[in-house]
């Protein structure tokens, strides 16, 4: 950075923002923790929106032949529910955890590219705002979350143009973040933090970000062609002009199936941290879990056509994708057994975080088993596009990703705030959540097998009384989930305001993030720890003999771990004593990414002046970013 000038003169924007405290500092922050917190709250808002959409959908299906809302609105709401929950809730919720935790868990002070990290967040926010603005601009996307062509290109209006554009914008966010996290994990681990000492959450994050890196370009290609078909009348997916509707399906699911693992693996990582902590035992079969996660990452790219078993593909493709789909169940099963055997033989403490993790294992198992039935290709011809599938993926994504995510929220809340969440409300949250979830999605297995197709605005009375009853149960369950979510919200706000102090290590935890203060200081670690073990922090607290029997170690006196000697050889050791260099805040990520709004509208409304404005804006932001000076006094 020697060539960069330090400046405290010049026009305002040429200066570097200095504030790192207070509400306004969030606008310019590049601190991974603050960005993680912003991701979290934004995710929560979109979760509420996606939840309301779901409740409207369920209300329509509460009784047969309901006229609560018209087909058009229903179609928009179920599409937006799916798009929101996948792209604006579960993915960014993972990003919230990645942001806050990855640097802490590997013993780093920030991510590799802090400004790019802020860029990712702002692009996500603007992408979400852009997508939701469609409700006020003629109607939200209404072609289903996988936007099958040629339907998505034939629907009049801009509904699906918003879909194509906002998914491209959100893809930029995720792609930038994936590069950032991969580089962070590979390059910024503390001394001694070898790959096989990384917490499983870090491992799963690494796999997820590689999945993102490789799968996002595929859907981007598909989306650009879709955008061209919609906006410019090209014919990539138009059979009448020599295009191919099935091409979209291949491109979408080549992304879409890895996407499923992008959604679930972070939750698997969270559970792999929570279960050992509250069982007071190391994770059972660490290396098997890690390799199973990596295997899922690889096989996940080879199963996409199981979403297309009833599409226009032949028996050879159906058979081979059926096989690969069956075999991806193997690594998933490995994980489940390892989690269960982590608990067996332990001393389990049922905190709310633990309840949600145990709930994850139980519910995800159900989703996994119904998933195996999809690999029975001939029966998939029957069950696909029915509520059986809706039940399946909600057991995986709600019973899996959301249970895991909520577990993580309770687990790391003290890390972020230095306070404990209320356990009584937490239990109430868990049980209402658990009952509401099973009441909503359990009956869908049956309504699916009894012939109810998904994405239908009308529940025909002709499907029979049983189907109608199951739908009523599902709707009741959805209302229980609303109550449960409100309990969580109350608990969250109450605990932030007046939660009991947690101390630095409330759970007697195992990994590096709990070694520093809670809430985390801005520099993360005053002294970067040197790692000698998997579960480093645990090993600094307890010594384990040959037979696996533990005894507490007096602070700072581990017999097999000479901290002082290790620190002496550590180049960062001096950081603890003087000024710690942290990345400076920056205006430019926010300034630059705001240009995505005019850019998106310019493409949809085909406005050349607006496009020009967006291009100049973005270029100016890019330029400002490059020439941005260091903050004054930070030229060390």
């Amino acid at each position: 950075m020697a060539s960069t000038t330090t400046s405290d003169a010049g026009p305002l924007l040429a200066r570097r923002p200095m504030k790192t405290q207070g509400r306004w500092s969030f606008l310019t922050t590049v601190d991974h923790k603050k960005i993680g917190i912003m991701y979290f709250w934004t995710t929560l808002v979109f979760f509420a929106l996606g939840g309301f959409e779901a409740v409207f959908v369920r209300t329509q299906l509460m009784k047969a032949e309901s006229t609560f809302m018209a087909e058009e609105l229903y179609n928009q709401l179920f599409t937006m529910h799916g798009v929101t929950m996948v792209f604006l809730v579960v993915m960014p919720l993972s990003a919230a955890f990645f942001n806050y935790l990855l640097p802490l868990m590997i013993g780093a002070r920030d991510v590799a590219f802090p400004r790019l990290n802020a860029f990712s967040y702002w692009v996500y926010l603007f992408g979400g705002i852009f997508l939701y603005s469609s409700f006020f601009l003629g109607g939200a996307p209404n072609g289903g979350w996988f936007g099958y062509a040629p339907l998505s290109t034939n629907i009049p209006g801009n509904n699906m143009a918003f879909y194509a554009m906002s998914l491209q914008i959100l893809g930029i966010s995720s792609l930038a973040a994936s590069v950032n996290f991969i580089v962070t994990i590979v390059n910024m681990r503390a001394v001694g933090m070898t790959f096989m000492r990384m917490p499983v959450f870090v491992w799963m994050s690494l796999v997820v970000n590689f999945l993102l890196l490789f799968s996002l370009p595929i859907i981007t290609v598909g989306l650009i062609m879709l955008q061209f078909d919609i906006a410019l009348g090209t014919s990539f997916y138009q059979a009448s002009a020599g295009g191919d509707p099935i091409l979209w399906q291949h491109l979408f699911w080549l992304f879409g199936h890895p996407e499923v693992y992008i959604l679930i693996l972070p939750a698997m990582g969270i559970v792999s941290e929570v279960l050992p902590t509250f069982s007071k035992k190391p994770l059972f079969g660490y290396s098997f879990l890690v390799f199973a996660g990596a295997a899922i990452g690889f096989i996940g790219f080879g199963v996409w056509a199981h979403h297309m078993f009833t599409s226009a593909i032949g028996p050879v493709a159906r058979a081979s994708f059926g096989l690969s789909t069956m075999f991806i169940a193997v690594p998933t099963g490995i994980k489940i057994f390892n989690w269960v055997f982590t608990m067996i033989g332990g001393k389990i403490k049922f905190t709310t975080a633990m309840l949600f993790s145990v709930g994850f294992v139980a519910m995800f198992t159900i989703g996994g088993l119904s998933g195996v039935t999809h690999a029975i290709v001939p029966h998939d011809y029957q069950q696909t596009d029915t509520y059986w599938v809706v039940a399946h993926f909600h057991y995986v994504l709600f019973g899996g990703a959301m249970f895991g995510g909520v577990s993580g929220m309770y687990y790391w809340f003290p890390k972020v705030t230095g306070k404990l969440m209320n356990e009584t409300l937490g239990r109430l949250h868990f049980w209402t959540w658990f009952i509401g979830f099973n009441l909503t999605f359990g009956p869908m297995h049956m309504s699916g097998l009894l012939g109810q197709p998904r994405r239908t605005a009308v529940l025909p009375a002709g499907l029979g009384d049983a189907v109608v009853l199951y739908n009523l149960l599902s709707t009741l369950g959805a209302f229980v989930l609303i109550v449960s979510s409100l309990i969580f919200l109350v608990n969250l706000i109450k605990s932030i305001k007046s939660g009991e102090p947690s101390g630095n290590d409330p759970w007697d935890a195992r990994t590096l993030e709990w070694m520093t203060e809670s809430p985390t200081p801005e520099v993360n670690f005053y002294e970067i720890p040197v790692v000698a073990h998997r579960d480093e922090f645990w090993h600094r607290k307890y010594a384990e003999d040959e037979a696996g029997v533990l005894r507490p170690v007096p602070a700072g006196a581990s017999e097999d771990h000479d901290v002082d000697a290790a620190v002496a050889t550590d180049e960062h050791a001096d950081d603890g004593h003087g000024h710690i260099h942290m990345p400076d805040p920056s205006y430019w990520p926010l300034v630059m990414t705001a240009a995505f709004l005019p850019f998106g509208y310019a493409v949809i409304y085909k406005s050349a002046p607006l496009l020009l404005l967006a291009a100049v804006w973005m270029f100016a932001g890019f330029y400002g970013w490059i020439i941005e000076p260091l903050a004054a006094g930070d030229d060390d």
Partner: protein, 394 residues
């Protein structure tokens, strides 16, 4: 190592999550067993093309149930047996067990390998077109199904019908399917054809021909529905299949091949027949008439108009069917739920439909990429006259 910040862990065992799930699942299956009438159920196969997948599914469901019980049982065991009892002792630190890992890697892999053999066999079995199978062409429109029976019409022409697929009993059938709008793929989208009692579903794709092979059993009527989201009125794109005895099927073919007769002069039906070709100008649509979209073989308009357009369903023998408008409305009153049609025509729904179809079923009948039947702005009297004519199309 109890942490003072944590609330004390109650020692009394509470109800476990898994117990409730098992209960729920059992309850669900019990309820399903009681529900005799679920005409679109996949659990009630009525032909080999539906039976083969069902047999596989039941085996897999059984295996899944065993795995479910094992895993949930282990979870229950863990949370009951290994609760922190607060004695402050730390558990033995077990890091893993390679033998166990190998067991739960290899055993599931073997089970899956075992399942994969009949699965793949069934995939290829179902894909094989039986020699000499009767061909029915299925065309998906937004939002209704058209059927063509090649060579079964008079002089080797095609029989054309809609909404109801009629098949002979105990016969191999191959459905050859595609999606079109007004005879072109330009505005067509993907649908999926599904009558679960007869066979699994298959997408119907513009510009491609996909197939379903199935075999009928005895005479019956089966419910089905489009299962690939196809836009605005996807929920209202339903269908049904009627399987007839060999003799009845021959009679049906004979009837379908017969042109419709024009109604006697002076009747309401005759006035309806005139309107069929000569409606007033419809505001916003210009000169429109039923004949611009619907075909009726044997129709002769007042000025010699023919009804030959294939945009909407063919109406030649409309009243020989039981349902209309994408099989969402009954043409005949039912006595006891779906499928129990009487001889009493459902005149009121027909009148409402003819008068203002978009109010009965979501459609995008005007504007860009128009689909479906527009509001023709008819008076009730005109609608009743047209319906009187339609009722003659037996």
């Amino acid at each position: 190592m109890r942490d003072p910040h944590l609330h004390p862990v109650p020692t009394a065992p509470r109800r476990r999550p898994v117990g409730r799930v098992v209960l729920l699942a059992l309850l669900a299956f019990a309820l399903a067993a009681c529900s005799a009438s679920a005409p679109q159920s996949v659990l009630d196969p009525q032909g080999p093309a539906a039976q083969q997948p069902d047999d596989l599914f039941r085996v897999v469901l059984l295996i899944a149930l065993v795995v479910f019980l094992v895993v949930q049982g282990l979870i229950i065991y863990a949370v009951v047996k290994f609760r922190d009892n607060g004695d402050g002792e730390l558990p033995k630190q077990v890091h893993g067990n390679t033998k166990m890992e190998l067991v739960w890697t290899i055993v599931p892999a073997l089970i899956l390998a075992g399942i994969s053999v009949p699965t793949i066999k069934a995939v290829f079995d179902l894909a094989e077109e039986p020699p000499g199978a009767m061909i029915v062409e299925v065309i998906g429109h937004s939002w209704w199904w058209e059927y063509r029976y090649p060579g079964l019409g008079p002089d080797g022409t095609d029989l054309i019908t809609a909404n109801e697929m009629v098949l002979p009993e105990n016969t191999d059938i191959t459905l050859k399917m595609t999606a079109e709008e007004s005879g072109s793929t330009a505005n067509a989208v993907i649908h999926a054809y599904w009558i679960p009692a007869l066979a699994g579903k298959q997408d119907v794709v513009p510009g491609r021909i996909t197939t379903i092979n199935l075999q009928t059993s005895g005479p019956d009527v089966y419910m089905g529905q489009c299962t690939e989201y196809c836009g605005l009125s996807h929920a209202n794109m339903r269908n049904y299949a009627t399987v007839l005895s060999a003799a009845d099927f021959d009679a049906w073919v004979e009837l379908q091949g017969t042109p419709a007769a024009m109604p006697a002069e002076g009747s309401d039906a005759a006035e309806g027949a005139r309107l069929f070709a000569q409606l007033r100008d419809v505001e916003g649509l210009g000169q429109r008439a039923c004949v611009s979209c619907h075909a009726i073989s044997g129709y002769v308009g007042p000025d010699g108009e023919v009804a030959g357009a294939g945009v909407g369903p063919d109406l030649t023998h409309l009243m020989d069917r039981e349902m209309f408008a994408g099989a969402i409305f009954d043409l005949y009153e039912t006595s006891d739920g779906w499928g129990t049609w009487t001889d009493e025509p459902n005149v009121e729904d027909l009148v409402k439909w003819v008068q203002n179809a978009p109010e009965m079923k979501a459609m995008r009948a005007t504007g860009e990429n128009a689909l479906g039947m527009p509001n023709l702005g008819l008076t009730e009297q005109e609608a009743r006259q047209i319906v009187a004519y339609l009722l003659t199309l037996k």
